[in-house]
Amino acid sequence: MPDIRKVKRRIKGVQNIAKITRAMEMIAASKMRKAQERGLAGRPYSEKIEQVIADLAALPDIGLQHPLLQRRPVEKIAVVHITPDRGLCGGLNANLNRRLGSFILEQENPVRVVAVGRKGRDFAVRSGSDMTAEFIQMGDQPAFLDTIPISHIVIDDYSNRVIDMVYISYAQFISTMVQKPVMKQLLPVEPAVIPRGENVDYIYEPGAEVVLGGLLPRFVEMEIYHAVLEAIASEQSARMVAMRNATDSASELIGDLTLLYNKARQEAITKELLDITGGVAALE
């Protein structure tokens, strides 16, 4: 027979856990919404930049002349690995790090890691990767300015030919239930192909090259900022789902334990009654 008091204590404990997980679920839900909104708010800016770059890159004289557009033989690769700072978000961190690990193994060339987020940093350290920089504790609402140093590192290294290709790895937000680790090429910038014909001939001031040179770094900064926001939305939705599952399991466990507790209590009462009636019978 289970110890009644132990069962009761266990029920209390599970109830407390359920309270915490429920609160975490709600916090994650609201943070997820905020990250999504911020991602959407920047959409017009990035769409515009993408379009202008496509226009400029298509110009015969300057197309593909800029260092950030130039492809060159790949000798060294860098990956900007964006992960959460914290755990308790289901398999998200493990999936992200596994994706990075298998990517590094697939490459014939050495890979450097720029870790954004503690979980990815820890993984890079544990696996002995060549880590150039780490950015941790950016918080749940990083400003555009907070993400600029990340872009500077990769842009500088790329321009100085320290690295020849840059990928960005983060959790793509597909839906609240599904987040997919993706590995996307960041540099060289691949200009989107926009159907000609609709294009207008612009006057560029001070010159097309200068404008393109100014826009490209902005574009890279923007891509990284968006990836960071999307990663946050993914992290929060993963956490939300994980916490909902935890709350559900806790409720189920509470049900089972309560049943066990009631059974034990009933049994104890029955036993006591039997003792009394037994005692009475013995006296008669």
Partner: protein, 139 residues
């Protein structure tokens, strides 16, 4: 009468989106005034004030660099940062201005003069815009 659709967007939000009559922007090669039916233009902006006229009304925004795209019926500003006059943190801009000035006066050899000058221009732009609005309110 035709008008221009002006959108000012930054990486974080859409700051301004209205139909306007005139846009005066701080281009790198000097101030530009844009009226409807302007020739398509793409230019870099420097830190400064961007003035918008709409009928008798006039709005002023402080922007700290960016890009400007003009089409016959649209103007799009991709700003590094943009603030309406009311949103400007005057104390912060004041502090930034002092800091930049001190650095410029100190040891110009050791610092990135261009960067400090840019910071100074940004702070000045914010202050001019904030000042202008304050004056207008008093009148």
């Amino acid at each position: 009468m035709s008008s221009l659709k002006l959108d000012i967007v930054t990486a974080e939000r859409v700051v301004y989106s209205e139909d306007v009559d005139v846009v005066i922007a701080p281009g790198v090669e000097g101030q530009l005034g844009i009226l409807p039916h302007h020739a398509p233009l793409m230019t870099i902006l420097q830190a400064g004030e961007l003035v918008v006229r709409r009928g008798a009304e006039e709005d002023t925004l402080a922007i700290s660099g960016g890009f400007l795209e003009v089409r016959p019926d649209r103007v799009i500003v991709l700003a590094d940062s943009a603030e309406r006059a009311g949103e400007i943190d005057v104390d912060r801009a004041e502090a930034a201005k002092k800091r930049a000035e001190q650095r410029l006066m100190g040891k110009p050899a050791e610092i990135d003069t261009a960067m400090v000058e840019a910071a100074l221009r940004r702070a000045m732009a914010r202050l001019t815009v904030a000042e202008k609005i304050k004056r207008r309110r008093k009148l």
